[in-house]
Amino acid sequence: MKRIGVFVCHCGTNIAATVDVVKVVEAAKLEPGVVHAAEYPYLCSEAGQNMIIKAVDEFGLTGVVVSACSPRMHETTFRKAAAKAGLNPFMVEISNIREQCSWIHKDSKDGTEKSIILTRAAIAKVHLNEPLHPGESKVTKRALVIGGGIAGIQTALDIAEAGFPVDIVESTPSIGGKMAQLDKTFPTLDCSACILTPKMVDAAAHENITLHTYSEIEKVEGFVGDFTITIRKKARYVDMKNCTGCGLCYEKCPVKKAPSEFEQGLIKRTAIYTPFAQAVPNVPVIDKTQCIKLKTGKCGLCEKVCTPKAIVFDQQDELITEKYGAVIIATGYDQISLEKFGEYSYNSPDVITGLEFERLTNAAGPTGGDLIRLSDKKKPRSVTFIQCIGSRDTSKRGKPYCSKICCMYTAKHAMLIRDKYPQIEVNVFYIDVRTPGKNFDEFYRRSAEEYGVNYIKGQVGKIIDQGEFLTLQSVDMLGGKRMDLQTDLVVLATAIEPVKSVRIIASMLTASIDTNNFMTEAHPKLKPVESPTAGVFLSGVCQGPKDIPETVAQAGATAAKVIGLLVKDKLMTNPCTAESNEKFCNGCSACTKVCPYGAIAYDDGIVHVNKALCQGCGACAVTCPSGAMDLQGFSNRQLMAEVDAICR
């Protein structure tokens, strides 16, 4: 039998005014195993804690019950005090007689009676408490960043600067992501490539950063501090070491029919290609769905012209396995498909998306920055932007959220046009213009006031391509009139969504994802860059729509959190974990299916709990029919003892 000490706190008058603490002490003394019971005005004070420490020694206590405020308040305090007294901290239980008694019951009799019962329940539980010891697990001092856009690059650079090795896995042939496609950036209008390219080069050159481009995550095992991740490096058919990046191969490639991903399909590219001139690494890849040699065995022109002999047609996918302490998801976004929005005639060459416009206005883009209609190559006389295409849309066609970046990039696009071609008329159909952000509203107002962009509160119902021009059936809500506006070029501010593959990545990492495929953060306010899964962090748009300044700020925050993890040599694990009794385990493995953390593994007839992964929810313990699975700290017996004590 344990030797239990019970300590009842007055909390000044917070408890003592309603609860007769002396009565609680007297009642506690009658409970089996209680060898000492006392009250004190402020147990959480140093003197109060010392009183507990002294009593542990004096009465040889093996268990402590503190009847005081909520355990959410001072459980840690009293557990630390117990540890000072040489007791295992988990031999302390709190009964909450302030929040649950004195503060809500006016009647002293009721409050006192309930305090006695709650104290009794805590005593019953302590009888069954076992010393618990947080486990330790090692930390592999290496991070993996999934996604090589600005979010991934910035996170990787910051971690690398702190001295830890980082790998970036990027699915396309080059890092850079969406930002590499942009022309200018709001609200300062500096050139996107000019600020991004140096970062890309830094990342490639950094001694702590390893790039795996044209690669994907194949498999994830392990847990915080100790992930083992397999990366598939897709066959590039070009030897990275030998290639000098001269570009002769794609100049000679006879296939010129593949839509260029980087140019948003506005122009075609060759079968062997680098996505864009500043690509990092500057090593081409062969698109095996296009290459004549790979499809039919003929051609091989690129191989003939390549002097360093870098073309390798029989190259295979390569699997590499590496250990990591932390994983950062930075997979970014895509524009949604406009398939379901037939009324906007997106199939017309003169109706384009925001991202397509970026390429069209970019000096390095397919038209050399010359703004033309793609149908007849003529300069448009007017350009009309339509906001919220598929955003804030609760019908099943679009997305219910605001895509956040469109108001600002539309103001930017409008301004760029008016700046370069003052004769072009620019209209913007908007529902609301949302510009919270430093210098954002000023920027938007400038586009309207200084550049004469015509903002129309209203929407377009339908776009009709009439060859020469487009007719927009629209409404000006402030003017209160229906309009059939004629315009030459339409830019749709298309909603953005997380890249499709993030769902697969999230499930491999057991990180949670919301109904819109955005990664869920551990806490929306207080843990915005951590996922609820320990060791998995979030950076960039995968967590929610955001612009470049926000993304970079978040990337830095994420890096700080990751560094905070990687500097540790060992991690303390939560001691309240599930434990399976091998003797009773049937091996049915139902527990493995309900574990949100993949912490339970079935092996040869029984299951094992990985203590480092287990977070102690207890889903498994209830699923287990034989009761072999139990949760330490909240065991079946402990909880039933509490039930029994309350119902006595």
């Binding site: 929040e99 503060w103 709650l118 909880l639 119902c647």
Partner: protein
């Protein structure tokens, strides 16, 4: 307890992250709810084994209520989704066996819903008062 004066006993299982915190908030906001409610803290509502519910009734509880985070807000991501299925089936079975429905309840209470916690408890206890003493699911050995 004097004869004729029925004072029910209600056991409330509250998850540590939302509902227990909600109860704390009810406390700090000084919102009254009946002293008949005795809270047992569990890490997650999915820790509540049907055995515990039956055990409470067996030992003389007149009502059992389970509180957890709202679906989608579980600290452990998915725990309360399992709770939702398990407890729905359990309560349905208890109903099928003729146990009065008013004696069981489940409510999602977030850490911010102190008012809801108090309201729910007030309502539930009132309901149990109306049903009177639990006779159908009780171990007579343990009652004096």
């Amino acid at each position: 307890m004097s004869v004729g004066e029925f004072k029910p006993l209600v056991v409330a299982f509250c998850c540590n992250w939302c509902s227990y915190a909600g109860a704390d908030l009810a406390g700090t906001s000084r919102l009254q709810y009946p002293a008949e409610v005795k809270i047992i803290k569990v890490p997650c509502s999915c820790r509540v084994n049907p055995l515990f519910v039956l055990r409470a009734f067996q030992k003389g509880a007149d009502g059992v209520i389970i509180c957890g985070c709202h679906p989608g807000d579980c600290h452990y991501s998915t725990g309360n989704y399992y709770t939702r299925r398990r407890i729905t089936l359990l309560y349905s079975m208890l109903d099928y066996l003729g146990i009065e429905k008013g004696r069981t309840h489940l409510e999602w209470v977030s850490a911010a819903e102190g008012v809801k916690f108090a309201t729910v408890m007030n309502k539930f206890v009132e309901q149990v008062y109306e049903l009177g003493e639990n006779r159908r699911l009780e171990d007579w050995r343990c009652k004096s």
